[in-house]
Subunit: 303 residues, 2 copies
Amino acid sequence: MSEDLFLEGLFPKLGPFPPSVVVPPGDDCAAIRIAPGRLLLLAVDQVIAGRHYHDRGPVAATPEQIGRKLAARNLSDVAAMGGRPLFGLVSLAFAPDHDEAWLTRFFDGAIGLGRQFGLHIIGGDLGRTLQGAVASLAILGEVDDTRVCLRSTARPGDLLMSTGVFGDSLASGHHLGFTPRCREGSWLAEHGWARAMIDVSDGLLLDASRLCTASGVGLVLDPTQVPRRTPTTSVDEALTGGEDYELLFATPPDQADRLDRDWPFPDVPLSRLGRFQAGPPRVLGSDGAPLVTRRPPGYDHFR
Amino acid sequence: MSEDLFLEGLFPKLGPFPPSVVVPPGDDCAAIRIAPGRLLLLAVDQVIAGRHYHDRGPVAATPEQIGRKLAARNLSDVAAMGGRPLFGLVSLAFAPDHDEAWLTRFFDGAIGLGRQFGLHIIGGDLGRTLQGAVASLAILGEVDDTRVCLRSTARPGDLLMSTGVFGDSLASGHHLGFTPRCREGSWLAEHGWARAMIDVSDGLLLDASRLCTASGVGLVLDPTQVPRRTPTTSVDEALTGGEDYELLFATPPDQADRLDRDWPFPDVPLSRLGRFQAGPPRVLGSDGAPLVTRRPPGYDHFR
């Protein structure tokens, strides 16, 4: 069972939705029209002990890092829609050995990062598990309805572009310390550079293929163009490692040069990774063969 | 450490909030003004294996019951504000032995109950734990700003009233099968009967004392007036058992008779449990002595 397949079966059961629902489940956020021209973005992501971080041993995450990562993952989802973060609801199922100091440090991590991006934690729930911690954050954001960036709107001929570098997120600690691309995502949306967008949480290849599936287009991707986190990061790792939390987006080809010129974030590399094309929704390498890696593509939380 | 005390320390760190925040954290829901006269209600509650239900043994909850309970707890929070449910985001950290069938049944339970009350699940997140399940639902509701029911607006002289019966929720299975008081809560709000309101999740006495603290008033409560779930339910159990998910509310004394007369839910008992009074925010018995029970008052998830 894969998460994507399970969700494909689940989504039809959730509807029909009221007409206010502009983007139903299946994108990085759902979107609801709450006023003329104004969409409310909604998403939820969790951080699970032993899955999304080590909770013991030499590379155990600190409580601040866990709270920070929880906020960062959700901020990244709002960024991928081109939105601005507004409010968050945190539920924390803490472990039996977590004390008040642990909880305080966890919330300090989440609140602190949220504050940097305008996210206010406005509610929560606390409870103790029998073993292991699970934290969840539901995020609300907003975006103008003419600026929202979906997964489903890439067109043949568009370039696939990315922010940042890829691979070795867990090995490098990037997965605990990354900066969500809120400023970049909202800048791209505001200027209309991103025709379609997604954030890379489950691996570049898997998330790129989600763009293809949602848009009904194919993609030719040049693995040699994927910027790697370190000199020792392999191409395969960059394509499938996951937890990069960078943005992947489709840009009309005649606008790419101007985007390169106007890009106002000098510390965040902008890369052209490939080109969308008409055809079945799959990712091909430069040689025209489907990109298959030795490891399962991307990070599937159902594994 | 108690949950209430921890939250008291946490809340000041969450602000300051933007002016759209009409009800900050500390009530059953937070409330945000999203249009003139219209409030968005926000809350989150979780259901934790081994804490909120038995996940093995003869009284193990079914996956449907767990999903249903998750939705019901959150619907109860919206009911306590006098609101109408709108959307929910579900995050599920499932246990290693949960398969696709388990997940499907869990969502069927949550979706099915939600549908009865106009709640649409519009997003979610799935992941596997190393042991035990944790499910969380963030709920959005709406209410007119002149109708919203807070905890903080009870006045001396108001009657304390309740829906339903109390005690032995866990022993009777009520905690898995209860009907959230959405219709009752929204009817009370619409007609202005409930000057202040809260739902009883952590025990009647503890939640009544929260009304007192938030409103800055005392309360004289007559334990003999508390309707008990079964003939063998003790007064003490009814006062402190928790997981009743009934509504407690303050009604101006001159309106109580008319409320009794107009009450359109014949299968839901309406009871007068006591009277608010000026004075320190504590709950006294009919004899004027503070109500203290042998067990810790109510259910504290920090135990």
